[in-house]
Symmetry: C2
Subunit: 493 residues, 2 copies
């Protein structure tokens, strides 16, 4: 007789196969698809997503989940069952009408935003965003009732299981105290240093070859993945076939290079997820913040360290050509430059968290109903002034209209960027303890011990442990933001 647990694994494997198609068709849409394919692709993906939702919320699932609880399962199976229930609950709890309404409102808002942002059209954008917020509040309310938590915490939990706004307030509250003055000191210090900018143009094919060669150094498995181009860089595909993207600018090559390194961090996590439980939720990445910790480990902790920058400099020179800006000292300064600005995605690692805290505070109040869409610009400006000393009045385009997240209602996502940065710092410190000669290893290009540590402590576990357990097992303690602070102080002061 087939056990309830086996029925579930069969169902989730089926779902994973459909997710595979969705991931590849989604990647294609961003990288390969000509414009006229857009509508048919959207309809095909929507049809698939309706199918996936109906499989996951089929009436048989709940009884199987309940029956499987009583079956004899090992630890991994129990963790898998836990993840299955979570996936089922998240899908089943929302009425189909709300899911559809949110999807339509999100598409409309995002689609219009593409024109509204360059036009600085806040009024037009706000009209659409109100509908998204209204539906997101409804979603939050339903999830909150089921989880017995606040509305915002219920949305946060979708991206970062177990995280709460109480904990975020602790973590970000401390950060808000020490970060702005630290930032000022660093900017002050760097004002003394001269930095020479490399002068382009930099041929795109050379930049691509540079990216590929650094991916090689960072252990990307080209047998199981690719590098392509998209308007917004991402890491997609499936663990067996990871697709990362970047975008090139002929005037400046460092952004694309660091972008590739960042996505390679995501990719190595995906490529090294456990293979023993194919198609099962327990084999998936732990959470959004843990995923981001892997990309930031690679980019911020490893690649922007002076040792690693010196390690990759010869490759930069080989592909990009020599130049006075490409001496070791200047190359390090270029990649460790701190410069507060309007745009989150262009931010250095010191000012980045202020962008996130600002969004966290606004979106939490928005979902709670403490503020309305109309209140966003004034709050945005006030916080930008306070945290970064930047005036955004009337500049919606580079202010509260710069990101895509809110357009389709991904409230609760932003905090994971800074949680990722904190986890990355804590993990890097643990690697340092495990590998006392770490600096030497990086300088000589022997990065394998670092990757082995990540594989053993993070990658191979998938979602077997809770985030907290995973981090405690790996580093000996729960998330501790002090490592991030020390990292910034040591690198930049």
């Amino acid at each position: 007789m087939t056990s309830a647990y086996q029925q579930l694994t069969h169902t989730f494997q089926r779902l994973a196969r459909f997710s595979h198609l969705s991931a590849i068709a989604g990647w294609d849409m961003q990288t390969m698809m000509p414009p006229a394919g857009s509508q048919a692709r959207g309809e095909a993906l929507a049809e698939l997503s309706v199918l996936q939702h109906s499989i996951l919320t089929d009436a048989a699932i709940k009884p199987w989940l309940d029956a499987a609880e009583q079956e004899s399962l090992d630890d991994v199976q129990r963790a898998n069952l836990h993840e299955m229930r979570r996936a089922w609950q998240q899908a089943a709890i929302l009425p189909a009408s709300l899911v559809e309404a949110k999807s339509i409102a999100g598409s409309r808002c995002e689609h219009a935003w593409r024109q509204q942002r360059p036009a600085n059209d806040w009024q037009g954008f706000a009209t659409n965003l109100k509908e998204v917020v209204k539906l997101s509040r409804q979603e939050a309310e339903i999830r909150a009732q089921a989880n017995g938590c606040s509305r915002y915490d219920a949305l946060l939990d979708v991206f970062e299981p177990g995280m709460t706004s109480a904990r975020l307030d602790e973590l970000f509250g401390a950060l808000k105290q020490w970060l702005p003055p630290l930032l000022q000191r660093i900017v002050e210090k760097q004002r003394q240093e001269s930095v020479e900018q490399p002068v382009g143009p930099f041929a795109i094919e050379s930049q691509r070859q540079l990216g590929l060669s650094i991916m090689q150094v960072l252990g990307f498995d080209f047998n199981a993945g690719r590098l392509d181009v998209s308007a917004h860089p991402f890491c997609g595909g499936v663990p067996e076939d990871v697709r990362i993207t970047t975008r090139y600018n002929e005037k400046e090559f460092l952004s694309a290079m660091m972008g590739v390194i960042h996505e390679t961090g995501h990719a190595r996590y995906e490529q090294n997820l456990p293979k023993s439980w194919p198609g099962q939720p327990v084999a998936l990445a732990r959470s959004t913040a843990i995923h981001e910790s892997q990309s930031l480990f690679m980019e911020m902790q490893l690649a922007r360290s002076a040792e690693c920058l010196q390690l990759i400099l010869p490759q930069v020179i080989r592909h990009i050509g020599e130049g006075t800006a490409l001496n070791a000292n200047n190359f390090v300064r270029l990649n460790q430059r701190v410069k507060p600005g309007f745009i989150r995605v262009d931010a250095d690692e010191v000012s980045y968290p202020t962008h996130v805290i600002l969004r966290y505070e606004i979106e939490r109040a928005l979902i709670a109903g403490d503020i309305e869409v109309e209140d966003i610009p004034a709050l945005w400006d006030e916080k930008m002034q306070r945290y970064l000393g930047i005036d955004t009045r009337g500049n919606y385009r580079d202010g509260c209209m710069q990101d895509i997240h809110w357009t389709d209602g991904a409230f609760g996502y932003f905090p994971t960027y800074t949680l990722g940065a904190m986890y990355a710092a804590q993990l890097f410190q643990a690697v340092k303890r495990a590998l006392p000669d770490l600096t030497q290893l990086i300088a000589t290009g022997d990065l394998q011990p670092i990757f082995s540590w990540l594989e053993q402590n993070i990658w191979q576990h998938g979602s077997r442990f809770s985030t907290r357990q995973l981090i405690e097992n790996a580093t000996g303690e729960d998330l501790n933001p002090e490592y991030f602070r020390r990292h910034l102080e040591q690198r930049y002061l």
Copy 2:
């Protein structure tokens, strides 16, 4: 109340959306996917195909088909209903166990063939092929009983609705009489002519640019399609987003160039299928042979004509560079060279039909049970000697193991190549009648009237008419192989 016909259109639109995903993931597999993605992709596509089969053979479909017959439908709807019933019947008639067994045997045979062909391992190949033949005979038997026809005719009908082996015997019987002597005369005549081969290497990027520029001349819509590279050239994707491929060889550029032109013929048909019936079977291409007629119209009738070769020569020189081989006369001779050889896909249009007739005669006898797999090599050799004067004894690799079609049981497909060539010649003659200044139009690069004629007479009709009706409407008569004969005589004698 929703009519049965509406229920059906809804179901077929859903199926079309899943086919969209299958087409894109299939294209990706041939063009983009790294090796390690293979197994997961195969499983994902198989899962999708199980789903499509279950939707198409759902118990509700048959009653809807029957009820819709009684509903008030216009001509297009009635044609659509006819195509729906055909699709349903083809899917529903086979037991799932046979479909699965054939899919497994086909994959095994094809997979092993990739190694067996270079190793010239006929014995190993024959063992796998026997299983495929056994299952194909079972499939043929079931379809034959349902259609009230012979086994082979039942398989033929899958690719070419309405075609029978009785009709093929007529068409090919005549061809078998006049083609071999004609071929000999042409080879004799061309022996007098000197032809200079262009000397490479030819950079792949230059070849690609040449292909793109010719696609532009031939009206390919780049807003709704792409050109990429794959081991075996094909035309894939969906009508809104057509993906054609080619393969490049640095030593020789004409094959890739003509390959691109051939696939562009397929692509223009797809890109110009009717848009008014989205996702409906009536909006799909008419048949395999009609599809091939469009690629051969573009490649053989149009592009290899002296006028068209002279039209594209300046582009060839622009991208490939000048050379004594690229004078007008020599360029025409290069592209009209007739040289009987072992390999079907490399064959010129004069010897090509003999390759097809040979396969047709063998596969028909095989499915009928008149011969067994062991008999193939001797028959192959006998026919190659008779039709082309070529000795294939012991050379399985370039003989009966050269093609991929039989490996997964696509018996009944081969004849469509030569039917396509015949349709193409007949259509081109009709275009000549409609456009008396055709030669002049081609010489001056004004190809739009030709494409408009194809659009009005073939492309826009999808599957609205039977193949016979379509051809009669377009050319005033049913398929008449005399046009093909006259075409060959006029071009080559």
